[in-house]
């Protein structure tokens, strides 16, 4: 008791009535919350630590193993696509394509999202169909259109590579190579994927010269007139929520996962805007070519339907205001040292064997694991 409100029904009705009145005021104030620039800046301070779940705590060995697996194309059925093929660190962990391309050049239905800053995320995928990174990691491996891997074969295949046996035993003492541990290692690595300090962060930390005056005006627009902050809030520029922002394509996104909720039709996950400038084209369908087109979309380019978010409305931005918003988003990119690719564990050199390299392996052919 005392951990929650327990009040009489009459008191509740007062609360409802009062909040009804409060709504009138705040509806009128959407996009015009009167906070000073200095106050807004306080909401964008970078965290100093990465959160890891109790069920899969951080160890350096596990993160390293995860990085090796992430970049190892042998995780795919035909041994030529790694997670890093699509989530390419040189494109800020995307692939620079409008829609991803998987096994046997299959065109995927949606654009490859970044894996940046997912340690702070909630539901995964554009439609939120996975709840944890551990759950998610196994999806693309098994998917015929992505990596087309047979999940039993992958354990045997890694088992046949001596160094992987050692690496798994170090990270998972007494347990070794299992499908779950592959997922845990990859998820641990993914949580470490965070980019460095950007000009914007230096400005937040007090360096007035870190960004241009146009970018500063863009920041004010972002938090006020343009109302981007309604969804892209906080240092990671997302509140991990799902909305229909009026993209005109037929994909119903989260509507398929939660069919009963109108506002989830055509809803997609709010992506981080960190390093976004390196990840064109934009949106789940890759249909918007650059950040200026994105701003035009929000200004007046969205389609209106029953599921459209109430936070998406005509903005009446001027051309200079649109430029300011783009200039602002450009300051969210850090110039980090290139990501080092791992040296991949070598095949066993002690037993004779031959590789199965059938010439016409279509999407339905199974794994080409080593034959001992």
């Amino acid at each position: 008791m005392g951990a929650y409100n327990k009040i009489s029904k009459f008191a509740i009705s007062m609360v409802v009535a009062v909040s009804g009145f409060a709504t009138v005021a705040s509806t009128a104030a959407i996009g015009a919350e009167k906070k000073s620039r200095e106050e807004w800046k306080k909401e964008y301070v970078r965290p100093s630590e990465i959160p890891f779940p109790k069920e899969n705590p951080y160890t350096a060995a596990k993160a390293d193993l995860g990085r090796t697996l992430f970049f190892d194309p042998r995780l795919s059925g035909a041994n030529y696509i790694s997670c890093g093929t699509c989530h390419n660190p040189s494109f800020a962990w995307g692939d620079g394509l409008a829609k991803g391309i998987g096994h046997a050049m299959t065109r995927l239905g949606r654009r490859t999202p970044t894996i940046l800053n997912l340690a702070w995320g909630e539901y995964l995928m554009w439609d939120g169909r996975f709840e944890t990174l551990e759950q998610q990691a196994l999806g693309p491996m098994a998917a015929a259109v992505e990596m087309n891997q047979n999940m039993k074969a992958i354990v045997a295949e890694l088992q046949s590579i001596p160094e992987y046996r050692t690496l798994f035993n170090v990270s998972f003492p007494g347990k070794g190579i299992t499908v779950d541990n592959i997922a845990k290692a990859i998820a641990t690595f993914e949580r470490t994927v965070v980019r460095g300090v950007a000009p914007f962060d230096r400005w937040i930390a007090g360096d007035e010269h870190a960004i241009s005056t146009s970018a500063k005006r863009g920041f004010d627009l972002f938090n006020n007139k343009a109302n981007c902050v309604a969804c892209h809030s906080g240092w990671n520029f997302t509140d991990s929520s799902f909305h229909d922002i009026g993209m005109p394509d037929k994909d119903i996104g989260r509507g398929k996962v939660v069919p009963g909720v109108v506002v989830m039709q055509h809803a997609f996950k709010v992506p981080t805007l960190r390093n976004a400038v390196e990840r064109a084209p934009y949106m789940h369908d890759g249909s918007l070519k650059n950040l200026y087109s994105v701003v035009e979309h929000y200004d007046n380019g969205f389609v209106t339907r029953p599921s459209k978010s109430e936070e998406i409305y005509k903005l009446n931005l001027t051309a200079p205001e649109k430029t300011d918003l783009v200039e602002f988003m450009k300051t969210l990119s850090s110039k980090d040292a290139p990501v080092a690719l791992p040296r991949l564990p070598a095949y066993d050199q002690t037993v004779a064997g031959s590789l199965n390299v059938s010439p016409a392996a279509g999407p339905s052919t199974g794994s080409s694991a080593m034959r001992a």
Binding site: A3, Y4, N5, K6, I7, S8, K9, F10, I12, S13, M14, V15, V16, A17, S19, G20, F21, A22, T23, V24, S26, T27, A29, I30, E122, Y123, G128, A230, D239, S240, S241, F242, H243, R254, V258, G260, V261, V262, V263, M264, A267, E310, E311
Partner: protein
């Protein structure tokens, strides 16, 4: 717009007032895209009222096994109620804003 919201507030006041022999009810407020509590513990058969005090809509649902429910979308200034008639631990979330999390322990 303005008068509609006022009218619904008045209607709510009226309906609830009629139903009022002052029995206890538990209130959780949805404000700034958060539930105002992270955890509550209640008795079997008690109802929790979710009051949306934000200027945006929220959803209230649970996918916990043995206690799945979905109260749909509540508009700003409205409220929905749920009677918890099974004991157990239920994770309540908003499908629009998955950062909104509340654990209801029913004894």
């Amino acid at each position: 717009m303005k008068s509609k919201i006022l009218a619904s507030a008045v209607a709510t006041l009226f309906v609830v007032a009629v139903a009022a022999p002052a029995s206890a009810e538990i209130v959780i407020t949805q404000k700034a895209k958060k539930f105002d509590k992270k955890k509550i513990s209640i008795k079997k058969g008690e109802a929790v009222k979710f009051v949306n005090s934000d200027s945006i809509s929220h959803n209230t649902h649970s996918r916990s096994s043995g206690g799945k429910f979905d109260l749909g979308v509540s508009k700003p200034g409205t409220a929905v109620s749920k009677v918890f008639d099974k004991s157990g631990k239920f994770k309540v979330r908003c499908t629009i804003h998955p950062k909104m999390k509340l654990t209801v322990k029913v004894n």
